[in-house]
Amino acid sequence: MKMLEILKRELRGYFFSPIAYVLVGFYLLISGYFFSTFVLSTHYAVLSPVLGSMVTVFMFVAPILTMRLIAEDMKTGTDQLLLTSPITVTDIVIGKFLSAVLVYLVALVITFLYPIYLKIYSSPDMGPVISGYIGLFLIGVTFISMGIFASSITENQMIAGIIGFALILGFWLISWLGDVFTGRARVIFQSLSFFDRLNNFQKGIVNLSDAVFFISVIVFFIFLTIRVVDKRRWS
């Protein structure tokens, strides 16, 4: 339950300072712009292209949202409080991770307004909307797990942000390699592709394998983060 204490403190850190408001505001502003221009120009009651653009926006937001999570503690010395308290590194990392996930969730929930608008003025197919949101949530949390990992490897927030963005972009672009190669390499890169798996969700296809893929990547980066925080003390 000590993990909850970390979570509460981090949420306080987000919402008692301008960080959460600026980031959520930026996210909503850009996605709102995509939504309005798309709907007004095409007159389609479809959300999936907008959700696709929202992924791109969050690629920029996620590193900034997560860069302070661990780096700041190392910089200011508050890690000395956390690591000498009777609480495990796992609890610390997961508490911090969940705080960023909750901020993201807040932003996502506000964007539920878009499908509600569509529903009011038209009759959109809600299946792809729901599956699209599931995909959007999963990929966002994946970005967050990469961001918190980046934050654990340096005490400089700026560098953590840049590394986080590089990681996210790197994994995002892996799908392009699938098109370059043929044969087995192509299959491997395509199976690692975030892009293709996200596409399934947006088309309304919920594959268990896609969900498991994202969850595995999340678990992998959280695990790495815990190891890094733990390991640094031994050096």
Binding site: E5, G13, G77, T84, P86
Partner: protein
């Protein structure tokens, strides 16, 4: 035994920051950890509190090994690092509640605890202030409060008075003394009077090794096998010095002219001989009145310098021998 270190070594890269030290601290003791900068004080404290593990050796807190059973061991420790680990964007009270939370103080008890500790440490007036807006002295108090929450038996305080003004230093020392009634305390410092004022026992560490460990009063007595006096005498400089040097048992005299016709002397004699009477008669015979006479102990400061500079003076001797040869 509240804290027990056995053959603890910490190696950073190729440098030994702490070299095979062993000591233990009993329940209720206040131990001063003394040494020049870079001696390994902070590293040792970081290992005791479980912030970093030792390269080799074992550390036990209240019987729990800090590496093997970290959660149990850490329940018994409160730690104030050199820079207090404060979340600057939090209010004092909220911050202390948070600390209570991660230290596992049950929610119900936490409110009372935080209230009591804020009284104890003197934070009631600033409870709703943001930590970043507090003065250095108040931040240090918040740091102390943070260490006490959860009522740990052992407090580890790294340079608790560094960077404070004299009034704040006194306040913090008083708080520490009060805490010493209920807690076992290990505190590090490079300010010597602090140790003699606050601590029961001193551990002097230099270049990662323990060079001395004893009760505070014994340690300054240890170097007192020579008797030293400060004497102020009225009379012409040369004659005064000659008079004192003629006394049997005097081993060393430092003389200095204080003002017109007044000489300040620091006189050392062997331990077995009290030269005060002879000094009196020697000066009386010459008609030089003694204006002041007081015995000088070695202060802890001198003991400290003696112990931590030993190696260098040894090197000097080695050089002399070479020259002589």
């Amino acid at each position: 035994m509240m804290v027990e270190l056995k053959n603890v070594t910490k190696v950073y890269g190729t440098r030994k920051a702490v070299d095979n030290i062993s000591f233990s601290v009993d329940k209720g003791e206040i131990v001063g950890f003394l040494g020049p900068n870079g001696a390994g004080k902070t590293t040792t404290m970081k290992m005791i509190t479980g912030y970093m593990p030792p390269t080799s050796g074992t550390i036990k807190i209240a019987g729990y090994d800090i590496v093997e059973q970290p959660i149990e061991a850490k329940k018994h420790i409160g730690y104030l690092p050199e820079v207090p680990p404060l979340y600057l964007d939090m209010m004092v009270e909220a911050y202390l509640h948070f600390v209570g939370g991660i230290k596992g103080v049950p929610a119900k008890k936490r409110r009372e605890d935080v209230e009591r500790i804020m009284h104890e440490v003197g934070l009631i007036d600033v409870r709703k202030r943001l930590i970043k807006n507090l003065s250095r002295g108040y931040k240090q108090r918040v740091g102390l409060a943070q260490a006490i929450i959860g009522d740990p038996e052992v407090l580890v305080l790294d340079e608790p008075t560094v960077g404070l003004d004299p009034k704040q230093i006194k306040e913090i020392r008083d708080i520490i003394k009060k805490l010493g009634e209920k807690h076992t305390i290990i505190l590090s410092t490079h300010i010597l009077p602090e140790v003699s004022m606050v601590c029961d026992r001193v551990i002097i560490i230099n270049r990662g090794k323990i060079v001395a460990m004893d009760k505070t009063e014994n340690l300054s007595a240890a170097l007192q096998n020579a008797r030293r006096y400060f004497v102020k005498v009225e009379g012409p400089y040369e004659e005064v010095v000659r008079a004192i040097e003629n006394i049997e048992g005097v081993t060393n005299v430092e003389a200095e002219i204080d003002q017109d016709n007044v000489v300040k002397l620091t006189v050392e004699s062997s331990a077995d001989k009290d030269i005060r009477k002879e000094m009196f008669f020697a000066f009386a015979k010459k008609g030089f009145p003694i204006l002041e006479l007081k015995p000088l102990g070695y202060s802890l400061e001198e003991v400290f310098l003696e112990l931590t500079t030993e190696e260098e003076s040894y090197d000097e001797n080695a050089g002399n021998i070479k020259e002589g040869a």
